[in-house]
Amino acid sequence: MKLAAYPAFTATAFQSRLAYRNQVWSGVFGELVFMFARIAIWTSVFSTVASSSVDGVTLPQMITYALLAGPVLYWDYSRLLRDIGTAVKSGDIAVYLLKPLLYPAYMLASHIGNFLFDLLTVTVPVAIIIAFTVGLVPPASLFHGFAFLAFWFLSFAMLFLLTAILGLAAFWLMTADSLDWFFNSIMTLLAGGIVPLWFFPGWLAAIAGNLPFAWVSYYPAAIYIGQLDPAQVLTAFVVGLLWFAVLLGFLLWIWARARHRLIVQGG
């Protein structure tokens, strides 16, 4: 296995995005519109209550949560989903089998390239613009700050695993497009990307809080603004790692099934 090939894929994915760098502006603009819409919503929600905080969260904290849970953590994973779906449907996925490399590792490497590109060209600029126009809060504490970084890592991994699994499901379902839509709805609700789990009814929050989606947006963002105490952070991290292991196992399993299908049925 040529390990050096994988960073090269990351660089290549990044470079490929440069070819479409004029799309960056629409990306930034889209995310800004989205953010300002949310800021308007939260501002009006907070203006209807007498106190300066709702469920112990202030408006600036809520805006910070919205930025983290949205553009920062729940970034544009659909490219990966589309790439896998297209490769499966067109049969181009066989081309990857012709090379001495592991397809899931290749997917991850190019996903990282796309992530870095979006981070530099969309996420960071949007965060800076929001910080200077509306204002953002710093992490609740040094501990919460570092915990956020660890959870960000986990969030990236979870989003990758969920997307890759879904993408490979195209082998059996052949309809990655409707899946994308379905997945997006589920994710938006259960990841806490728009409404944090603490606003959910108790039973739904309990369910959503234990599903892997919550590690994509909810936990990292909630930890950043200090909604979880250190003990809860640790528990969430351990459960998150367990989900990570389960999903990783599932991805490798589904890829083995897909590969088997590919070499026996030819697609």
Binding site: M1, K2, A4, A5, A8, F9, T12, Q15, S16, A19, Y20, G91, D92, A94, V95, L97, L98, K99, P100, L101, L262, I263, V264, Q265, G266
Partner: protein, 332 residues
């Protein structure tokens, strides 16, 4: 030692029977009914290192299926395929490192990047030492005349330019075997010619074993001394191109021209097909028959002015062969 061997290879695809309409689509989800397609049907051959073999057959003959089995991305339903002494699909990664593959209808280049970047990526994938990579790149760029477009994004290239780049990319890591599935499909005459000359040269100069599928006979005439011909998944012919005629039972034509009409002539070595009086057309009875045999039998005393032997056009032979088969429903 054969570098590639196939023995009694079969590939049967099972496709779920599809019914029409939405209800049918739902029903076929649960149905266990399958149609079987026998894409490769009991094929055996052995290829020695350094050979260039053309795998010829009409559309749907099972050529791509065979290439996929040799490159390890498809498993045979029965029989065995060995490439470089290994079963390709169970040693996919090791096998992949030692072969080069070009699919005429699938690109392996990165669409949005300059050709050079795709090459560079292959350097990492195949772990090619930098000096060897530089050497190969320079040589391939010159041979395939790629210098003027190597820094252009792949999406801006013509099909001919892209195909040259695909072939170069498959050779950068000095594979022992180069597999090409319809490398000339859709190319114009000039591009076809460049590709053919190049492949013949790679085979001759570097000793790279080449297997290429095609339905264009010229590819084989110019690149491959050996021809494997398939149809309907079955092997029809394996041997040198020049022996194909005999194998398919088509005979050479002999034209004898006389100063004056010698009257009817019957010979044992050649059968008269058209008699124009002073010009007579014969079909030679066997591949072993030489003109001398015919002339000896004819004897002297005729006012013979000219003798012309016509090799049947291979393209024509194959066309006739397929046509006969379609009419009679069976191979002759």
């Amino acid at each position: 030692m054969a570098i590639i061997s196939a023995s009694s290879v079969e590939k049967v695809f099972r496709q779920p029977k599809r019914q029409a309409g939405f209800g049918g689509a739902i029903r076929s989800l649960f149905s266990r009914e399958f149609t079987e397609i026998r894409a490769v049907d009991g094929i055996s051959f052995a290829i020695e290192p350094g050979e260039a073999v053309g795998y010829l057959g009409p559309n749907g003959a099972g050529k791509s299926t065979m290439i996929k089995m040799m490159t390890g991305i498809l498993v045979p339903s029965s029989g065995t395929v060995e490439v470089l002494g290994r079963e390709p699909h169970s040693h996919r990664i090791t096998n992949a490192a030692e072969i080069g593959v070009v699919f005429g209808q699938r690109s392996q280049l990165w669409w949005d990047l300059p050709v050079r970047d795709s090459f560079e990526l292959n350097r990492h994938i195949y772990d090619i030492p930098a000096p060897r990579f530089a050497d190969n790149l320079a040589r391939l760029t010159a041979m395939l005349d790629m210098a003027f477009y190597i820094d252009r994004p792949v999406r801006q290239l013509s099909l001919g330019q892209r195909m040259r780049a695909e072939i170069a990319m498959a050779l950068l890591h000095d594979p022992k075997i180069l597999f090409l599935d319809e490398p000339t499909i859709g190319l114009d005459v000039v591009a076809k010619d460049t590709v053919r000359k190049f492949l013949a040269e790679v085979n001759r100069e570097r000793g790279t074993t080449i297997i290429l599928t095609t339905h264009d006979l010229v590819d084989i005439e110019e690149i491959c001394p050996r021809l494997i011909m398939v149809d309907d998944g079955k092997l029809l012919f394996d041997g040198e191109l020049k022996h194909l005629r005999t194998a398919l039972g088509s005979r050479r034509r002999l034209k004898l021209e006389f100063g004056t009409d010698p009257g009817p002539i019957t010979l044992k070595t050649a059968a008269l097909v058209t008699d124009e009086g002073a010009a007579k057309h014969f079909l030679l009875e066997s591949e072993q028959t030489s003109i001398l045999d015919v002339l000896t039998e004819l004897g002297s005393g005729h006012d013979l002015k000219d003798v012309k032997l016509e090799e049947p056009d291979i393209e024509e032979v194959i066309r006739t062969f397929y046509r006969n088969k379609a009419q009679t429903g069976a191979a002759p």
